[in-house]
């Protein structure tokens, strides 16, 4: 009789010791690790299309969650194209036409430069805890790193992905993999972090493979070539006038 009692006691202790942190707490930690108030990012998108691979280079200035300014540097066809995000608004400037077009409505679903990322992705609030409530589904290793698998459910209706599955590195609090789903449960996009880097006290992704599963091709590699956190960014960049400079 004593053996079953011991087993029951041990099991109940296990239950009492249930995860020290909740899904929402883990998501908060991810947010604290990933987020920085001001940053300048130089990046390359290597887009593996059905017929050819293209590389698009850009430099972005980001302030808070709602302001960003991006200028495309290469290839020649895209050079000088600029994008400005101010709160809920997004504009694109085309140097060849000298026109600034507001991207809204169904245009937000269009891909950025033919990549596997959409304007909608760009407009999303980067603070995931503001958009999703998280629960821990299980633990799983990704590329040799122990991860929590979080199920994220949207708190609002009008966001691009109703449901996400996120593999969060247990030690570094950086997502290493994500599956993004539509309301009906259809998988729309996958995100695989292939390389990470440490910048100041943050663990950030250095190479990410985005794959729009509804699109042909091998996905888009997003390389962060340089990132400066807490950089000084002039105010004038976050105005429409900056687009035509």
């Amino acid at each position: 009789m004593t053996r079953p009692l011991v087993v029951a006691f041990t099991l109940s202790l296990g239950l009492l010791r249930a995860p020290a942190q909740t899904g929402d707490e883990i998501l908060q930690k991810v947010d604290r690790n990933m987020f920085s108030e001001r940053k300048i990012v130089v990046s390359r998108m290597i887009i593996h299309g059905m017929r050819e691979t293209r590389t698009v280079e850009s430099k972005s200035w980001q302030r808070g969650t709602s302001e960003s300014y991006t200028e495309y540097i290469a290839p020649a066809r895209e050079k000088g194209t600029k994008m400005l995000k101010l709160k809920e608004m997004l504009w694109e400037y085309s140097p060849s036409t000298d026109r600034t077009i507001m991207i809204s409505g169904h245009m937000l679903r269009q891909s950025i430069m033919g990549s596997d990322l959409s304007y909608e992705d760009m407009m999303e609030d980067p603070h995931l805890p503001n958009l999703y409530s998280a629960t821990i589904a299980r633990s799983e290793a990704v590329s040799g790193r122990e991860c929590w698998v979080l199920d994220l459910k949207a708190k609002k209706e009008d966001i691009a992905y109703d449901h996400r599955q996120v593999w969060v590195d247990k030690e570094r609090f950086i997502p290493l993999r994500e599956n993004l789903y539509a309301t009906g449960g259809k998988l729309l996009k996958t995100v695989d972090v292939r390389e990470v880097m440490r910048v100041q006290n943050h663990w950030l992704a250095k190479l990410v493979l985005y794959k729009d599963v509804l699109k042909e091709g091998e996905g888009t590699e997003f390389h962060i070539d340089n990132v400066t956190l807490d950089a000084e960014i002039p105010d004038y960049l976050f105005s429409k006038a900056a687009l035509r400079r």
């Binding site: 050819e52 036409t97 026109r99 600034t100 430069m113």
Partner: protein, 433 residues
């Protein structure tokens, strides 16, 4: 020949208008058949021609991958190396005129004086070969006649837009319009054009939101150098010749096979040709129309034959007295029978001839002037012309003539058999009563 005794007024043996009723019946029936056939032919032909002109050509070349999703105009799957392909098509199939096209969707954005958006509308665009001297597109689109305002594009960077769309956006010739669309690699493309004129093609589905640009301009805008969504082939007489189209298609596809043993997607960007019937998705529809129009004309011809047959019978009954007198004076029954048959052939021939002539006259008017059904199609998305025209073909000349002739003859032949049943001994009694 006269009948009657002293107590009766002279009565003509054969009334002068005896053949008039059958003649009128044959005339009316034949005329209606000719009209019905020509309008049906015209409607189907108009639809085929419109679909060929504005959508698929009589034959169409595209990549195998594009062909699978052609309804979505997937320019990322477009043909590349179009110049080489055009050279091959033009030298191998000389009876067809070949031209590249790009179909695209997007937004047309009209700037105000500060360059800000003043008006915007979704558009369905078509890039056609406007500046190549040998291009069939000027004839296919009948651009000069379709112009409502301004002039045709004369240099790169100029576009035509649907007149309805132009009115909605309040733009006119000389104004700048910015086209926002996607390149073949999926990037956003923003290109300025100058509106050279506005057009109305008489196809409600097109006139609502069409932009016509030059194919070279759109190749630049969509980042598809030497590319095109499709290459269309048109027969020189602008009629669809199914047999030849199928021959050309089979030959071209034989020359561009997917190498055996290739992986499933290996041939995605190889060119493939299809005929209007297969490319338009109208194969079943055309079969249905064909069968349906045959049934309509068939039922009409049978109904007309029954009417004419009855006219023959009625004519014989009306001539009961006349036949009696002719028998009474000793005329041979077979002679009378053959006389009636000869008359019926004459009535059938004259009635059918006049009916065909009148029907052709109406059909010709319908072919030249047409019938405007634009108000019915104003919300339609079909590639159907606003003006439906009749079409006179070889069959139109015969479709009413032979049934008219045959039905009158058969009607008389059957009703005339009664002549042989009449007894000579009873004739005077019949005539006296």
């Amino acid at each position: 020949m006269r009948s009657g005794g002293s107590s009766h007024d002279p009565v003509p043996v054969q009334r002068p208008d005896a053949g008039l009723f059958p003649l009128l019946t044959v005339f009316a029936g034949v005329m209606l058949t000719v009209c019905l056939h020509s309008w049906l032919s015209g409607s189907v032909s108009s639809m085929i021609q419109s679909t060929a002109h504005y959508s698929t050509g009589y034959v169409r070349v595209l990549t195998r991958a594009y062909a699978k999703e052609a309804a979505q105009n997937p320019n990322d799957l477009a043909l590349l190396g179009v110049d080489t392909l055009l050279g091959e098509l033009s030298s191998r199939y000389r009876d067809l005129l070949w031209t590249p096209r790009i179909q695209f969707g997007g937004l047309i954005d009209i700037p105000d004086t500060n360059g800000e958006t003043r008006a915007q509308s979704p558009v369905s665009g078509l890039a056609i070969d406007l500046f190549n001297p040998g291009s069939p597109e000027w004839k296919v689109f009948d651009i000069r006649r379709s112009l409502i305002r301004g002039r045709e594009p004369a240099k790169p960077g100029e576009i035509l837009i649907g007149d309805e769309l132009a009115l909605k956006l309040r733009v006119g010739p000389g104004d700048t319009a910015t086209l926002i669309t996607s390149t073949m690699y999926g990037s956003m493309s923003i290109t300025n054009f100058v509106v050279s004129g506005t057009v109305r093609f008489g196809i409600a589905a097109m006139d609502r939101g069409t932009v016509i640009a030059d194919v070279s301009d759109m190749q630049r805008a969509l980042d598809m150098q030497n590319g095109a969504g499709e290459i269309l082939g048109f027969f020189a007489d602008d009629f669809y010749h199914e047999e030849r189209a199928s021959e050309v298609t089979a030959d071209f596809n034989r020359l561009h096979p997917v190498p055996p043993g290739s992986p499933p997607d290996a041939g995605s960007f190889l060119p493939v040709m299809g005929t209007l019937r297969t490319e338009s998705g109208m194969s079943d529809y055309l079969d249905y129309i064909d069968v349906f129009s045959r049934i309509i004309v068939g039922v009409f011809v049978v109904a007309m034959s029954v009417v004419l047959w009855n006219a023959g019978i009625t004519g014989s009954l009306r001539r009961y007295g006349e036949i009696g007198v002719r028998l009474a004076v000793g005329e041979d029954k077979t002679h009378i029978y053959f006389t009636l048959l000869a008359e019926s052939i004459m009535i059938g021939f004259i009635g059918s001839l006049l009916g065909t002539a009148a029907g052709l006259g109406i059909a010709w008017y319908g072919q030249v002037h047409g019938l405007d059904i634009g108000s019915v199609l104003k919300d339609s998305s079909l590639m159907f012309p606003n003006v439906v025209r009749a079409r006179i073909t070889g069959a139109t000349y015969l479709i009413g003539f032979f049934p008219g002739l045959l039905a009158t003859f058969l009607g008389t032949a059957i009703s005339g058999i009664g002549i042989y049943r009449r007894e000579t001994s009873e004739l005077f009694k019949e005539l006296a009563s």
